[in-house]
Amino acid sequence: MSASIEEVSGEDIQKYYDRLKDDVERHGYHLNPDEDMTRDLIRGLIVNQRRNSYPSCPCRLASGDIEEDLDIICPCDYRDTDLGEYGMCYCALYVSGDVLSGEKAVSPIPERRPSPEERAKARAETGGAPVHAGLSKPVWRCRVCGYLCGRDEPPEKCPICGAQKERFERFM
């Protein structure tokens, strides 16, 4: 049974790759130019998508519970900060301009995601940021790309990066 989940055809990988590359380039991001690495990671994303019906990070262990895994649905909440600090995301699927141009090499970076214990603690404490007096609407922040909007509810999908509503947090 699991063999079929693991078996991803070259054609499926290519399709995913073409679509993703086109999409990320249009949004100012870059995929790792080492296609061997990138295809391997895309294979992982496809396997995870089949397993849990969402494409969680190939280099992290998903719980299978979408609530717990929201922060590691690719692109994860940590991508942009890691691109800024290290020039690549944790898996090295996404890279910065200087890695793309070859000025900087791809190498492993430390894990930024909080530990399972810290995450459990944070979940227990979430009440969101308090609404500031004087604001006519709450402000929501997309955890993936940082987009902010002032409205009663976050949008169904982030208009900038396409992340789902569930990935917004109350910002102000």
């Binding site: 990671l41 992982g44 396997v47 190939p58 280099c59 992290r60 090295a92 894990e111 530990s115």
Partner: protein, 98 residues
């Protein structure tokens, strides 16, 4: 840990090398490749392929060495742990040259 989940890869005996990996992870694949290139014998387990119960048992084992439970995690001789893909440290620890 349930040993039947371990996959053994033959090679030169450099002590007990245990690799905790994910089947989907690129850095884990690189670690497998490196250990293969070094020609050392090791045991490995792809944690994402385990059923829930076993997965929980194995992650508890990993956390003893690596509380963050990240991959790859390599445990050598039940006394030394190398976290992440780290060719230099692995080679130094196993005293092999490529």
């Amino acid at each position: 840990m349930a040993d039947h989940n371990l996959k053994h890869i033959d090679g030169a005996d450099r002590g007990r090398i245990l690799l905790y990996a994910l089947s989907t992870c690129m850095w884990c694949r690189k670690t497998k490749q490196l250990l293969g290139d070094l020609g050392v014998a090791y045991d490995m387990i792809d944690v994402d392929l385990l059923e829930k119960q076993e997965r929980e048992e194995v992650t508890e084992d990993i956390k003893k060495w690596n509380p963050e439970c990240t991959f790859p995690t390599v445990v050598i001789n039940n006394e030394k742990c190398i976290i992440g893909y780290n060719p230099d440290e692995l080679q130094a620890e196993l005293q092999v040259t490529r």
